[in-house]
Symmetry: C2
Subunit: 459 residues, 2 copies
């Protein structure tokens, strides 16, 4: 227990932040200028700008465009130490966390913001067959599969004159599912246009399987309808009330119906990080911790649960697990810690203090390269769709990217891709196997030969 005191003067309060997502990193930035000793723990060495992960997955951006080393982001603050490690136990009564490597970190204040991960509804064996999109590794794995499908089809076509239909099946019609679908459709129809000689990439089909009656459940009905129209315009097929009963190499089952899939992606369920349960407080079904209006679990005014890991209700609805509330919760926790340290509040958290309130500026999801839906709440209320919504999305996402360099880089890449239809992040790295491809050939519907003449390109 003495090891961890290789640190600053003892009078200074110690804050431990677990997780360097939106909540954790915003808390760290706000606490950095105060006379506190801060430890930020994350399993990864980088912060990921998750709203743009799907663009890495579809080869429009490179990993380094949307991920930054946590150390670099915080290098100007000597009172913050970053540890690439994992928490294995919380000892909340002793105000101490235990790390995987055995280190013990004592704290005066603790912020836990480890977000969420995929939920396969008890079918963890589906994870390898239908990757989800939470990390840079997930994104490059999806990129590998989608690009490889076109390569393997070209190879088969060249060799045998037919290839399995390029069906991309996305399970889940939330924002991630919709964004992935739009982007795959764009890749197939626009960016790959002149790249293949044997197959016609634009004949690829994208299918969204949504279990509920509506896609984009958190959006109002008019925008759900607009999104549906825009997806249809891109050629994306939409099936609602479609409950996936099985995921196998090369196909997906919806009830008794078999749906061929060269690539299956998972955008359906999320569950809170396992640290929620590890904390020992009451959690909801997803594993998020019930917190009070100060983001504290019951009886622990020194512990703050932020972001996806917190179950917070406001006006009768649960606050959604997206970037904005996470940033706001991280900032709120940091400000409250500052007031506790400055003794503006009682040590038990009593005293005049605003409860946390989510200030909802709205939500947006893109649909391909020219359309989006936006439910705008601030600075005015409105439902936008199509190109104006897409432009708004673009500006907002560049603005919120952390770091001037990344903003420049992403803007330049988008402008380049938009104007030239070329993108250069289309690298396939890693294995060249696709689950279900070998048996997919006989099982999937073959596409007719379509004898192509190299002298008259399809374009």
């Amino acid at each position: 227990m003495a090891e961890e005191t290789t640190r600053g003067s003892v009078e200074r309060k110690r804050v431990v932040i677990i997780g360097a997502g939106f909540a954790g990193i915003h808390a760290a930035f706000h606490l950095a200028k105060l006379p506190l000793d801060i430890s930020l723990i994350d399993r990864r060495n980088h912060h990921t700008f998750q709203p743009l992960l799907y663009q890495v997955a579809l080869a429009m951006l490179s990993p380094a465009d949307i991920a930054q080393p946590i150390r670099s982001m915080l290098s100007d603050y000597p009172n913050i130490e970053v540890l690439m490690d994992e928490v294995v136990a919380f000892h909340v009564d002793e105000q101490r966390v235990e790390l995987k490597t055995g280190a013990q970190l004592e704290y005066d204040y603790l912020i836990v913001a480890t977000g969420s991960t995929h939920s396969y509804f008890g079918h963890d064996e589906w994870a390898k067959l239908a990757p989800g999109l939470k990390t840079i590794e997930d994104a490059t794995e999806i990129r590998r599969r989608v690009l490889l499908a076109f390569e393997l089809a070209e190879r088969k076509m060249q060799e045998t004159g037919k290839h399995p239909q390029l069906n991309f099946v996305i399970i889940g019609g939330g924002p991630t599912g919709v964004e992935l679908a739009g982007a795959i459709s764009d890749i197939a129809k626009l960016y790959m246009m002149k790249n293949f000689r044997h197959i016609d990439p634009s004949r690829a089909q994208v299918l969204i399987l949504e279990g509920s009656p509506h896609i984009l459940g958190m959006y109002p009905e008019d925008l759900q309808a607009k999104a549906g129209q825009q997806l249809n315009a891109l050629g994306v097929t939409l099936r609602t009330n479609a409950h996936v009963s099985d995921v196998q190499p090369g196909y997906v089952m919806v009830g008794d119906e078999r749906i061929d899939a060269v690539v299956t992606l998972w955008a359906a369920g999320v569950q809170a990080s396992p640290l929620g349960k590890l904390l020992g407080f009451e959690t909801d079904r997803r594993g998020s911790v019930f917190v009070d209006e100060h983001l504290n679990p019951p009886g622990h005014p020194e512990i703050f649960i932020c972001g996806d890991l917190a179950h917070v209700e406001q006006d009768g609805k649960q606050i959604p697990g997206v970037a904005q509330p996470a940033m706001q919760m991280g900032t709120y926790a940091a400000k409250r810690i500052a007031r506790l340290v400055a003794s503006e509040l009682g040590s038990d958290g009593t005293g005049k203090n605003q409860p946390f309130r989510y200030f909802d500026k709205g939500d947006m999801a893109t649909i391909g390269r020219k359309a989006a839906v936006a439910k705008i709440e601030w600075p005015f209320k409105g439902h936008w769709s199509g190109f104006p919504a897409w432009m708004t999305w673009l500006v907002v996402h560049i603005f919120f990217l952390i770091g001037f360099r990344n903003r420049l880089s992403v803007f330049r890449q988008w402008a380049w891709t938009y104007l030239t239809f070329k993108d250069s992040a289309r690298l396939i790295t890693g294995s060249q196997e696709l689950p279900g491809w070998d048996n997919g050939e006989e099982q999937a519907t073959p596409v007719a030969a379509g004898q192509l003449d190299l002298n008259s390109p399809k374009t």
Copy 2:
């Protein structure tokens, strides 16, 4: 045998190019505008600008900065088809190659340019312990190991007050070894300066083990000496005549001497791609094919071997396996094919034609961020070192990068990193294990605790 004729009119000559490295891609560009049907086969979907791979390995550039999808590069030429596949057999008498997937490709002319790979001198078990640097995957694996070593040391130091000495051992003192050593030293001493709170990254040690009496064997003696001085100035230790007898997790043996290593990198031997032997012609010890002055193997004027895979001697010396001769060979083969097709030469290759001659413009290797050695042969002769050589290296490498977009991007990244000491490609992806780390702790020399006060940062 009929399957492969899903292509253009039969009168057009068919060229098959194996390998999309410098030789293959230059041949393809030169042949693209002629009335030929061209198939370009590569195992990967991207061309890699190998001279800058070490910058990806040391997190200065992103993979997409130096790698481009082959399809995109050639998308404007409908007479070129790109196949992501592997050759499993050559049937040179029938003028046909067999691909892994079973496809058969007939050709009138064949260019084989599959380059080289690492040689572990019969110790293939060292490959996992000491990765070499030939592909994007190699580069991100080296990046992972080097960055992870600092993270694990910080973690150990925070926990126990000591950590294994950060020894980076590079086996091989050729250009790649020297460039890796300089870049690791830069990372440790400059770019990571303000990033750690417990360890002092600048105390990392970089060691080059070179088996021969001199580093940079292909350079003249004065530049070898200059390179040695510049490496010493960066704190890199150099051991020549050091024959590595074993590579183990956490250490390397030189004779009976044990040298601790948190990360070991391989920059020693290369061998030609196995396709050299598969062709069936006589090869040298490295596996490169002996070719005549037209780059043809004996008796096959329709086959061209280019780049690293060709054993070509000029003025009594073998042409080195670097980018320049590969580009020139690819271009030469393409031009000769054009003349054969145009019947300017006899079908057996006889007739007036220049033999291949390597036009050596010189060689360069960087040593960190400010120095280099350059043996310049054209447009004037000279031996340069230090900053002027480094500036020359910079200009030449940006110029030779294929694609305007990549040039811009690399230039911007370098300028940014050079001016700000920040780089943002420092992502650790994949596993968080390092071979030999767990036992390295007790075995390697621990660094003294050096109780650090977070209030007075080291900078």
